[in-house]
């Protein structure tokens, strides 16, 4: 993990010279793309939203200030806004059968570790479906905590919550998942 002073320097450089944004992109691409992919569930959609997120960040670099949030948290916030905006626009649209099939094909999980047995594959696939049933806000929490391995403090910063609230809301989300999978 890059320390904040190094990240701050990268941000200052990118604010002076937009071409230097590339360093921040390299630092954050994987994290942001994986977060969006976990939330979107489709590669093509994840690519569109990731692209939009970094374009928004590049365009708004001059406005970014360290006052309230770190650069990383700011990027996640842009990603979440773009995801929310996409789902607001598309929730009411009827998904065609073809799109459903594409979506299902995209959601097939790649093989887990070589030692993972078939039962485990089934369990994890069911778990994915259960997480997908959570409200968007709880999906963000689960993705940040367990897919991205963020600390409670980092999640609190990204989602603009208190650390306590992160713990409480995460506990509720896990309880819901357990109920869905009958654990």
């Amino acid at each position: 993990m890059t320390d904040l002073s190094q990240e701050r320097e990268l941000v200052i450089n990118a604010q002076k010279n937009p071409a230097a944004f590339n360093k921040l992109y390299q630092l954050y691409f994987d994290k942001i793309y994986h977060f969006i992919l976990a939330r979107a569930g489709q590669v093509e959609l994840a690519e569109d939203i990731t692209s939009q997120t970094f374009v928004n960040a590049l365009e708004n670099m001059a406005k970014f200030r360290w006052r309230n949030v770190s650069f990383g948290a700011w990027l996640y916030r842009i990603a979440i806004n773009n995801l929310n905006s996409y789902y607001r626009k598309h929730n009411r649209l009827v998904v065609t059968e073809e799109e459903t099939l594409i979506s299902l094909a995209d959601q097939q999980l790649p093989p887990l570790e070589p030692y993972a047995d078939f039962d485990e594959q089934i369990r994890i696939t069911e778990l994915k479906k259960a997480v997908d049933q959570l409200p968007d806000f709880e999906k963000n929490l689960v993705a940040l905590r367990y897919f991205q391995e963020k600390s409670y403090e980092e999640i609190a910063e990204i989602l603009n919550l208190s650390v306590n609230a992160v713990g409480v809301k995460l506990h509720r989300a896990l309880k819901k998942v357990r109920k869905i999978i009958n654990l």
């Binding site: 937009p18 590339n22 690519e47 374009v55």
Partner: protein, 56 residues
Amino acid sequence: MDLLNEKNKNQLLINDLRKLGRALNRGNDDFKLALALKLKQQALAKPEPKSKKSFP
């Protein structure tokens, strides 16, 4: 006993969520490169940030 059982179930769930996370973290190097090029072009087309005005 029940409390212990609850804790174990939560831990099982958390372990599985982490496995799910690892399975979802697929690389996409072609896209990463394509987007890097797009951003580079956009950055180069961006006007330089305003510096202090110099008065004649």
